[in-house]
Symmetry: C2
Subunit: 223 residues, 2 copies
């Protein structure tokens, strides 16, 4: 740890990036939804960061589902641009959910802002926006479906992977399965059903197949 880091613990150092042309450089697969930090900015280039699930729909296309009334959706609708940032740092996810990141957490790249020190990021330009009303067990909410095209894909040495909750849903389900005999079958079934929803929403074919096998094994164990 350098002295500079100690004096200013919040500000990550600048990082060097290598430029790539599409999302394969980040091993993002079509049909999977990734947990990322989306950075947007207003007319005065004041940055905003929010944890957003980004659906990969092709080698240079993504779809975001943005809730009405957030700064992210305002900024995206205003200027049609944003960056998708990759990190595995729990404090970045936490601080950008609970409040605002400090100004010095943003860096400039061309006329975009991105998360300073991110393991990777890509620039994105909005292709289309559709408004829809989503009804689920949490009630009714207005959503903007934003389709966007990735531009420059920038990867740092520190890049490992883009966070995907699919494998986690499988592991959680397996842990619940091994504890089945100590669990209330109702609670257990509800937990596994929730993890199945997660795997189907964010995962790939192997996560979905894994959940199918777990549910089948569970039903013959507890019935």
């Amino acid at each position: 740890m350098s002295g500079a880091l100690k004096e200013n613990p919040g500000k990550p150092s600048e990082v060097e990036y290598t430029h790539f042309k599409d999302l394969q450089a980040l091993e993002m697969e079509r049909g999977r939804l990734y947990e990322t930090i989306v950075v947007t900015w207003d007319g005065s280039m004041v940055g905003n960061a929010a944890p957003i699930g980004v659906l990969c729909t092709g080698e240079d296309t993504v779809t975001l589902y943005l809730y009405q009334g957030t700064r992210t959706v305002e900024n995206v609708l205003d200027n049609g641009r944003f960056t998708v940032n990759v990190t595995l740092d729990p404090l970045i996810f936490t601080d950008s959910t609970l409040g605002d990141l400090d100004e010095d957490m943003f860096s400039h790249y061309r006329d975009f802002l991105h998360l300073r020190g991110a393991d990777a990021f890509f620039t994105a330009e909005v292709v289309s926006v559709k408004k829809l009303v989503k009804r689920d067990r949490f009630g009714e909410s207005e959503l903007h479906v934003v389709k966007a095209r990735a531009g420059d894909v920038m990867r740092a040495e520190s890049f490992r992977m883009v966070l995907n909750r699919g494998i986690y849903a499988v592991i959680e389900s397996l842990i619940a399965y091994t504890r089945a005999e100590f669990s209330d079958p109702l609670v257990l079934r509800e937990r596994i059903a929730e993890m199945n929803r997660v795997a189907r929403k964010v995962g790939g074919p192997r996560e979905k197949e894994a959940m199918r096998r777990i549910i089948q094994a569970l039903e013959s164990k507890i019935s």
Copy 2:
């Protein structure tokens, strides 16, 4: 996809590994617990694979908590050796939990068996075994605390990271937090408490600090 792969879909291809001397090559950090596949074998070299949490305790030391009555603990006590295998494949975790992996899922390395096609693996030799009785909300169980020393650390090109549930516990908690107004406060608190247990058990300092901030924000939101 080659014809050979199609004919025998279950068997992964052999992989080339680079040899390293300690667990830093896998970016394993002291104090974190990782989700791995532990491979053991009996006197006839019949392999067994089981998903096991492996606590990193130093740059070449790990601790495993093994439940009584499993083939893993029998094999480990019998011959004092095993391999720790790294994969992100949900079907390997699933199939090794629900039943046995096929024989052709194991490969030989020196006089060890490891998971064929694993992103990485390391050989381990038992240093000490202590028996203890664990009492928790799931009841009472006999545990073997196995301390072991890592030998050869083998990493393939496909290696990205060793699975750690800490970041996922934080993400799950943040999702629960953003839905707080639609949730039963009791259910919400219980869910966050469970995720806090996971983060404290498996995570590093940043996951623990993230959970502290989430719980603090949640308490001022719902109280």
